[in-house]
Every structure is written in C-alpha cells, then in structure tokens.
Symmetry: C2
Subunit: 168 residues, 2 copies
Amino acid sequence: MVDTSGAQGNETLLFLTDEQLRKGIEAMFFAYRGFTADPDRILDEKGYGRAHHRAMHFIKRTPGTTVNNLLSILGVTKQSLNRVLRTLIDDRLVRSEVGTRDKRERHLTLTETGLELERALSDAQRVRMRTAFRQAGPEAVAGFRQVLEAMMDGDMRRHYARLKDTEV
Amino acid sequence: MVDTSGAQGNETLLFLTDEQLRKGIEAMFFAYRGFTADPDRILDEKGYGRAHHRAMHFIKRTPGTTVNNLLSILGVTKQSLNRVLRTLIDDRLVRSEVGTRDKRERHLTLTETGLELERALSDAQRVRMRTAFRQAGPEAVAGFRQVLEAMMDGDMRRHYARLKDTEV
DNA sequence: CTTGGAATGTCAACAAGACTGACATAAAAT
DNA sequence: ATTTTATGTCAGTCTTGTTGACATTCCAAG
C-alpha cells in the first residue's frame, strides 16, 4: 500500500525515529535550564522567584491587564498567583488599580521600580537568546520558532499568537 | 568601518531586534508547558512528579549510573534527588545496587515496572514531539536543535553531547 | 598500619510555590 | 431581587528545591 497521506508537503515521508525524538526531548530539557539560569540568579539576589518573573513579564507585555487574564496566561490558581502579586504590590513593583468600568477588576501595571527589575531580568535573558540565535543563524531561528509553536497546547498557542504581534 | 566579523557565515549581519528575541522567549515559555503537559498527567495519576520522571529518564538512558552522575545531570542537590530516588526504590521502580569496586557508590537501574512507567511517560512525550516535528518539517527540526544547543550552559551541553550519540 | 580527609549517601528540618477547599465582598448581569 | 462573575483571603497539603548534620567507605600520607 502506497503512502499518499499529507496534503501539506512537509508531512509526507517523515519517518522520525525514537532516537531523533529523544534527542529533541533532551535538548528541550537541557536548554530550558539555560533559558532560565540568568534571570534566576538575579531573582535570587533580590529574594524573588521564577513566578515573580513570569508575572512581571506578562504585566509588562499587557499593561493594565487583569488578574483573571494573567491567570489564564500563567496557568496557575488565583491563590498561587495572589501570593506572588501580593509581594510584588507590597514591594511597590506592581501597581494594582480598581477598574473604572468594572470595579471588581484590578488592573495591573509595573511601577518605575518594577520596570527596572523587569528590564534587568529580560536583558539577561535576551543576551543568551541573542547569542544562541546568532550562533544558529536565521534559518535555524525560524525552525526553532516553528517547532515550538507546534509543541504548544491549544490554549497556550492562542495566548502566544495574540501576544506575538503586539508591540512592546 | 566595515563589518568583517565572523568567520562563520551565519554570524555576520545578524541584527536581532528585541521584538524577535521576545518572541523567542515567549515561544520557549509556552512550548515548555506543552512539552511537560502529557507526562505530567500520567505522573499525577500515579502520584509522582516531574522530578521522578527526570530521574527515571536518565536512569533509563544510562543504566547502572551512580547517584553522583545523576546529580550532575539533573543539577539538584543530592538530598533533593535522594527523596525522589527513595520513593522510586521503595516502590520497586528503581533498583539500587551497592558498587562492587567502590562500595560507597549505588548503581541505579530501572526494574521491569520502572521500564513500563518510563515507557508510558516517554511515549506520551514522543507523541507530541513527533507531531510537532512532522508539522514543522525536517529543516525546522534541525534549526530547533541548533538553537537549543546554543542556549545550553556549558555543563549541560557536555551532558547533552555525551548522551546525544549514545544508543538507547 | 593507621589515621585523616574526600567521596558518597541518608536523615531531618525548612522554604518556595504549586495545589484544593471554604468563604467574603462587590459588582455586573439576568 | 437573585444569580453569576471577579477578586481576595485564610487554612492546609504536596512536591521539590534548599542547608545542616552525620554515617559509611575509600584512599593516600605519614
């Protein structure tokens, strides 16, 4: 029986061995460690954790975002996020403002100090990403992004796509 | 002054905007969630966590490995690893044998039951990886691997390279 | 040979950051 | 007026990191 599957060219005749897949899996594991290593060091000095970084990143990306929106992006419970936001607000890194249209909502923005820390964290992360991108070259970068997008869950891919073309 | 840097072709004239780097960072974040989602579900049913998966993966990869070797791959403290190993050994998923040459060492292997669970976990992870690789195509996969390798810390890259060409 | 240090692994206690469940408040929607 | 939604909080649990203390084993220098 002849394989006639795959209307899209790339899907035909792609026999992936378990070995190839294993390498991809291990690459993902080891690379993620590098991905978080630099910000982690800064966070540790300041007494924060990765959870604080994630929250600050997406507040920076969508200033004025609500707690609920942040929850669906981060995929944690509100109790978990609340603890992190509490410390960031108490430390004056994040500002929480009651919504004008809907007074139940809290709109979150980074303060000046918050922007500074976020800048330090993302600078460190960008340095590594830039070095990796330069070493690998533009075509590799395109492939990198393609595979990662295909690896996301539906919900996450939606969030990613929505943010992707949003100006900073 | 003319830019003549970069003996390797790919390193010349690569101006990466913060926007491009940010997309890479967010892609990495969202994709890693997908990467772990499927095994996490199985682990949760069985009452284990991601740490157990990591330990089992690398024990499978290097049967008879010592605790110390596993430590340097996983990058955690021996006390942290010990707790995870303890439950795996007690549950008869991992066998720990005192070294013959050096009796301080413990040599770790997966039992039959351990191999079964590891198989279930890696199957789930491979399905997603295979789907992503198929969707993206072989050139994208090559780029994906290149960027990830460039993103690793030195230590991790060494571990990755050593494992990379080891038969399963 | 003995002894002291290094390597290895275990036990105990603690912290961060996930989780669930229960409940309060306020506002919006029906 | 009642229900639903958005948010916050309190209490308690779990996983998985951490450090500190300690036991065992090995090896090498005296």
